[in-house]
């Protein structure tokens, strides 16, 4: 997180891409609807912000507190070398509860793999993290999509965590042995350089 925030905005590809997209779309609005279209877009932006601000504020506080309660290193130790149903369940729960962006998620997953966690546990962690996180659901999905759509999408996809836990290790074992070994070697380096 700190590492990410040190990057100046003019070197941040996500910010530059977003800035470019916003400029492009705003120019299109100006061309098609004139200045009144841009004003309408500005008002809608403020309305969106007003709707989401309370949930966003609380969500950021919750994310900070969860990081204190479940530090990445501790989560890693919990999952450790458990290549069992318990390991999968802890992996999925850790994925659903862990806050923060990819800069939090991938170092945790890499530390887990380097620490000897089974591919199934890591698949459970990443799948839960991708499919459903408490923070993303409450802070973003419910306010912006509405409860019916947020719930429908969650119910439609939550069982896919189990599919990932079963299938990812099978496909992983089909990968060439050298790729598996180099993956583990690479993970060791990433983890060392990140910590």
């Amino acid at each position: 997180m700190r590492q990410n925030s040190k990057k100046p905005w003019w070197k941040d590809p996500s910010f530059l891409t977003m800035g470019f997209l916003l400029t492009l779309v705003t120019s299109l609005v100006l061309l098609v609807h004139g200045i009144s279209g841009v004003i309408e877009g500005g008002i809608t932006t403020f309305e969106l912000f007003g709707t989401a601000a309370p949930a966003l504020t609380l969500g950021f506080i919750l994310a900070g507190l969860l990081t204190i309660l479940f530090p990445p290193a501790t989560v890693g130790r919990w999952m450790g070398d458990e290549a069992s149903v318990k390991g999968f369940l802890i992996g999925a729960a850790a994925g659903a509860l862990s806050p923060g962006g990819p800069y939090v998620m991938y170092p945790i997953a890499a530390a887990l793999m380097h620490g000897g966690a089974g591919i199934g546990s890591i698949a459970a962690f990443t799948a839960a993290r991708n499919m459903f996180t408490v923070n993303r659901f409450l802070v973003y999905e419910v306010p912006f999509l509405g409860i019916p759509l947020a719930l429908a999408r969650t119910f439609a996809t939550i069982w896919l965590v189990l599919v990932s836990v079963v299938l990812v290790p099978i496909v992983f074992r089909m990968m060439p042995r050298s790729a598996q070994e180099s993956a583990r070697a690479k993970i060791g380096k990433s983890e060392t350089s990140d910590s």
Partner: protein, 164 residues
């Protein structure tokens, strides 16, 4: 409702942090939150502005035609492709999905869009997953996850109708 639920969760988490780490834990938690806000704040504002402008520029009839409830596989496919390609975090993608939904997109395409962004995004995979977890795991996960946006696209509408 989510705001009240979040408030309860914040309260619970604060009690646990206080119990385990005392006031220094709370202070550290607040500092972490502020750093997180500092990191994603500007992207969040850009994301909301982008979704608002998209709502203004994209005519409802076009969205309804290509991504509406009747668009079937085409809508789900469009949602999936956009989800795979779009960069940024939930602060960009979810507001955008919400505005496209409000403009007439169907439940299936929107669910496919969000699920594709969650499971098979190009930017996050290349920038984060590959360097940290290596090619063998990344490829295995991507191959398994490839059909997930379509599953979401087809299963979400009937569940949505039940809940609604």
């Amino acid at each position: 409702m989510s705001t009240y639920l979040l408030a309860v969760l914040v309260l619970l988490a604060s009690v646990f942090v206080l119990q385990r780490h005392g006031f220094s834990g709370i202070r550290e938690g607040v500092i972490t939150s502020a750093l997180l806000l500092k990191t994603v704040g500007k992207m969040l504002i850009l994301g909301m502005a982008l979704s608002a402008m998209t709502q203004v520029i994209l005519p409802e009839e076009i969205i309804t035609k290509w991504m509406g409830n009747e668009s079937g596989l085409t809508g789900i496919l469009i949602g999936t492709v956009v989800g795979v390609l779009i960069p940024g975090g939930p602060y960009v993608v979810i507001p955008l999905a919400g505005s496209v939904f409000l403009s007439g997109a169907g439940v299936g395409p929107v669910a496919a869009f969000i699920t594709a962004w969650n499971t098979i995004p190009i930017t996050r995979t290349v920038m984060w997953e590959w360097p940290f977890l290596g090619g063998a795991f990344t490829w295995s996960r991507m191959i398994v996850n490839l059909p997930f946006p379509f599953v979401a696209g087809f299963l979400s509408p009937p569940i949505f109708n039940l809940i609604k």
